[in-house]
């Protein structure tokens, strides 16, 4: 098992490297034109708060040392980089790191079937519970891995974009066995393409069993059409509502996607019985399967143009068309600008980003470069409201810097309490990205409780289990941090007055983390 995982790891690295340096797909390094004069301390913090998951000491040092243009270039062109050893060791120990997706899923499927087949009701119940628990453990691992990377990866922008695209191409852990698949979905469909080409990303999500299960395309077959995925593909993933497609296009795309599904058969199982003329069309890659028996081979028209290809290639042709549509360039650019700049981003900025998207054939890094270089971006720093995931991760990064958390479960709990559970959004639209969704009365109240949890009792992150005694002191040395000292000059008079009323360091931390300034990035 160990050997297999090493080989897989090497493949993943090779794939990642191929994105930037393979001769067939030579992609120039994206550099950024930004002022090269050294940033003052306060501006540095503002850039970090927006481009990374939040200020911490090592990111601050990197930015100071490289200067803004080079640091941004590093971020836009990430190179594979390990986490700090204490974090990497946690990731390496996970089942999702040691076992391939198809092995995991076929094993679990066998376990489920064996449980269902038990004659004794009590035994059946216990076996089903064991199956559910294993699924729960796998999704918990994926959540833990995500949090560790957001906290400590040097490729902070890539990690932010990974969250963004996971949310854009949302799948939900409560459906079927998606708990077993979501870690691989993030790792192999999303993260490698998070700053790459949109078309590659779109293709990777279409080929992943998590998406095919979540949006029911695994059930979509000729004469038994399931439109779910086809609709979301246009409405949520590419063109956007009002992007110029019709109900007929939804139906036609659903027909294009017939036969695109998932197989739990062993990898070396014989292919299904397909009539000779279509036999070459059969595709099996891991759990992904294109089954000609389920595909509608009739002629199709999508967005006013006929689909010329045949079999699975029809889906590729459709994705090309969707990815290159001007509506997609605008829709994706606007959503990126909402995530990074403002709930209601300036139209001129969106247009410039969309132009960059189109010019580069959907290169995400190039689109982001256009955004980062825009004066609107610099002007927006410090104003975007943090959603719960941003709030928790930025809080812990600020509080504990490079000291590696040994138990991220409390962080996962805080994120859940604020209603933004990782992989937990039920519907394919993903979590909202605007302030109104996260700044309601109940949200703010919960947020202050989280501020206290970090500020007064953050040591819960550094014990082996939930019962172990807390280290003393049990709170982070926030006031001593360089970033916090730098930040203090920019705090409002009301915030400074509140800090002055703190009775002890725990309270001081709590007030700082609860302050209006720390709600924004």
């Amino acid at each position: 098992m160990r050997r297999v995982s090493l080989a897989l790891g090497a493949c993943a690295l090779a794939l990642l490297a191929a994105c930037t340096s393979a001769p067939g797909d030579r992609r120039a390094v994206v550099s950024v034109s930004l002022p090269s004069a050294p940033l003052d301390d306060a501006s540095r913090l503002r850039w970090l708060d927006r481009v990374s998951w939040g200020v911490n000491a090592s990111s601050e040092a990197q930015l100071a040392q490289r200067g803004l243009p080079l640091w941004m270039r590093d971020q836009l062109n990430p190179r594979p980089a390990p986490l700090p050893p204490a974090a990497q060791a946690q990731v390496d120990a996970m089942a999702i790191s040691r076992t391939s997706l198809d092995q995991l899923v076929t094993e679990l499927d066998a376990q489920r079937k064996a449980a269902d087949a038990l004659p004794d009701e009590d035994q059946k119940k216990a076996a089903r519970q064991a199956y559910q628990q294993r699924l729960n453990e796998l999704v918990r691992e994926a959540q833990q891995r995500f949090v560790l990377r957001a906290l400590y990866s040097p490729n902070q922008l890539q990690e932010q974009m990974t969250w963004f695209w996971m949310n854009h191409f949302n799948v939900n852990l409560r459906k079927d066995n998606i708990r077993a698949m979501v870690g691989d979905y993030e790792e192999n469909a999303i993260r490698p393409h998070a700053l790459g080409r949109f078309r590659d990303l779109l293709g990777a999500t279409l080929h992943h069993p998590a998406m095919l299960r979540y949006l029911d395309n695994a059930q979509n077959a000729a004469n038994r059409i399931n439109e779910n995925y086809a609709r979301e593909l246009m409405e949520l993933h590419t063109l956007g509502v009002g992007g110029g497609y019709s109900q007929t296009d939804v139906q036609e795309l659903a027909r294009v996607l017939t036969g695109v599904g998932v197989s739990y058969q062993p990898l070396d199982a014989a292919p299904p019985n397909v009539r000779p003329a279509l036999r070459d069309d059969y595709v099996r890659r891991g759990l992904f399967e294109f089954n000609p028996n389920r595909h509608d081979y009739g002629p199709k028209t999508l967005l006013g143009q006929p689909i010329e290809s045949r079999g699975l290639a029809e889906a590729g042709e459709a994705l090309d068309r969707l990815a290159r549509a001007p509506a997609t360039a605008r829709f994706i650019s606007r959503k990126l600008a909402v995530y990074f700049v403002s709930d209601d981003p300036p139209q001129a900025l969106v247009e410039r980003m969309a132009a960059a998207f189109t010019r580069s054939d959907g290169d995400i890094a190039v689109t982001l470069k256009a955004m980062f270089e825009a004066p609107e971006f610099a002007a927006s720093l410090g104003r975007k409201f943090r959603d719960p995931v941003h709030y928790v991760i930025a809080g812990v990064r600020l509080a504990y810097g490079d000291r590696v958390v040994s138990n991220v479960n409390p962080m996962i709990g805080w994120i859940n309490r604020m209603g933004e559970q990782l992989y937990g959004h039920e519907t394919p639209d993903g979590y909202p990205l605007n302030e109104a969704a996260w700044a309601s009365a109940g949200q703010m109240n919960t947020r202050f409780e989280i501020a206290r949890a970090i500020g007064a009792n953050g040591a819960v992150l550094f014990r082996a289990d939930d019962k172990a005694p807390l280290e003393k002191p049990a709170f982070p040395p926030l006031a001593d941090s360089h970033a916090v000292r730098t930040m203090q000059a920019g705090l409002s008079a009301d915030t400074r007055e509140a800090l002055a009323q703190a009775n002890n360091p725990q309270e001081w931390n709590t007030f700082l983390l609860a302050s209006p300034e720390l709600m924004r990035r």
């Binding site: 109104a436 309601s440 007064a456 709590t510």
Partner: protein, 403 residues
């Protein structure tokens, strides 16, 4: 306290005969509305069972609810309909006391059969052929209209983690999830210090309101625990949430929203017992607990409407479950339902037979939700046509004489 006195006063005023007419008075200041959204499209055919339909029993060989009088059979409501037996202790007594009604064949004209599409469109309550405005939910528009007219200082609240679409919009609306038992770690002095940090920011309102709500929830829950004669707080799950909602709505809030998930039963939904039966039992305990906790005075002023995005397929599928359908059944509960509605199945109806299925698949929608809510709002609050038009643009209200 003041509101309580007012309620007593209003209850004492003899208004146009039947008690059910109380809320029909224009400008009904004490009227309260709670909308319960069952997310996932619950199987209405096993809730309100068409016991007179042979076609029902032929279509559901494994999951049908037996006829009244049979083991595990439906509870008889009238000659055509029965109620799922899991509601025997909760909703059935309310129905017999004319405090419950069901609107069969209810729902939306949205035909996507997509959960989130339809949930969104219902919560927004806008015309389907126009561009959606996600910043304007129908309960928020109602709050806006009421605040400007019949109910001065209307207080809307969602008992959810996030503000739901239905309550987003121009009118201020609070939210507070009640499920957890997390103790407040931020004490009163710290709360004041934090609120002061926000006093000059746009978030001053939500922050102050959040602390205020937290304290009210704590007080209400404490008061319940102190009242030794009742053991309400041993309730679990939705019943606990529902009883807490009542504590808050009785005194403080006029317009509430809560959602309950877990209704998407494609596989193994069960019949008289099983998965769906357990969900019904819990929901029934919740709404009955809500009514009890409101107390007679407030309950007479309250209407609870239970809705869902759509119904499910009439026939059971190959996995002993049901798939996405169309028309559904709404529940209407309240201490002051009218004589025409309480203890009845209301709204336009038709026979349950293969010939009357919509697209040979599911229930048709004969009672469109905006028209139904529009009719209800008019009676509850005495809204003018212009006010109703601000809530549901271009809709002719349908008066089911619910209150």
């Amino acid at each position: 306290m003041q509101r309580r006195e007012l309620l007593k006063l209003m209850a004492a005023v003899p208004l146009a005969g039947a008690a059910g007419q109380l809320m029909a008075a224009p400008g009904a200041e004490g009227a309260k509305l709670l909308v319960v959204f069952l997310r996932g499209a619950y199987d209405c055919c096993n809730l309100l069972v068409p016991t007179a339909s042979d076609f029902y029993y032929a279509s559901r060989p494994n999951i049908a609810i037996a006829r009244p009088g049979m083991p595990g059979g439906a509870l008889p409501l009238d000659g055509n309909w029965g109620l799922h037996p899991a509601l025997a202790q909760s909703v059935m007594p309310m129905f017999q006391q004319k405090q419950a009604a069901f609107i069969a064949f209810a729902g939306t004209d949205d035909l996507t059969r997509s959960h989130f599409e339809t949930q969104d469109s219902i919560e927004l309550g806008q015309a389907l052929d126009k561009r959606r405005d996600y910043r304007s939910g129908f309960l928020n528009r109602l709050a806006g209209v009421l605040g400007a007219g019949p109910v001065a200082g209307v207080s809307p609240i969602a008992f959810t983690e996030q503000l739901p679409l239905s309550l987003r919009g121009g009118a201020r609306a609070a939210n507070m999830a009640l499920a957890g038992n997390a103790r407040a770690g931020i004490d009163a002095r710290q709360s004041q210090v934090i609120a002061a940090m926000y006093r000059n920011t746009p978030l001053a309102g939500p922050v102050a309101e959040g602390f205020e709500l937290r304290d009210e929830v704590a007080r209400a829950v404490q008061a319940e625990m102190d009242a030794a004669s009742r053991n309400a707080m041993t309730a679990k799950g939705f019943e606990l949430v529902a009883r807490r909602m009542a504590l808050l709505m009785r005194e403080r809030f006029d317009l509430g929203f809560v959602d309950v998930g877990g209704w998407d039963t494609h596989v193994g939904q069960g019949g008289a017992i099983g998965y769906l039966a357990n969900r019904f039992e819990e929901l029934g305990r919740g709404v009955a607990g809500f009514a009890q906790e409101m107390g007679d005075d407030a309950w007479r002023q309250t209407v609870v409407v239970v809705i869902s995005e759509f119904g499910r397929t009439f026939r059971e599928n190959g996995n002993r479950g049901t798939d996405h359908g169309h028309g559904t059944v709404y529940w209407v509960l309240g201490g002051g339902l009218s004589a025409q509605a309480g203890g009845r199945i209301v709204g336009e109806q038709q026979d349950v037979a293969q010939a009357t299925l919509f697209q040979n698949r599911d229930y048709p929608v004969l009672n469109e939700y905006r028209a139904v809510f529009g009719g209800l709002f008019r009676r509850m609050y005495g809204l003018s046509p212009a006010q109703l038009a601000r809530v549901f643009d271009g809709v002719t209200p349908k008066d089911l004489q619910l209150v």
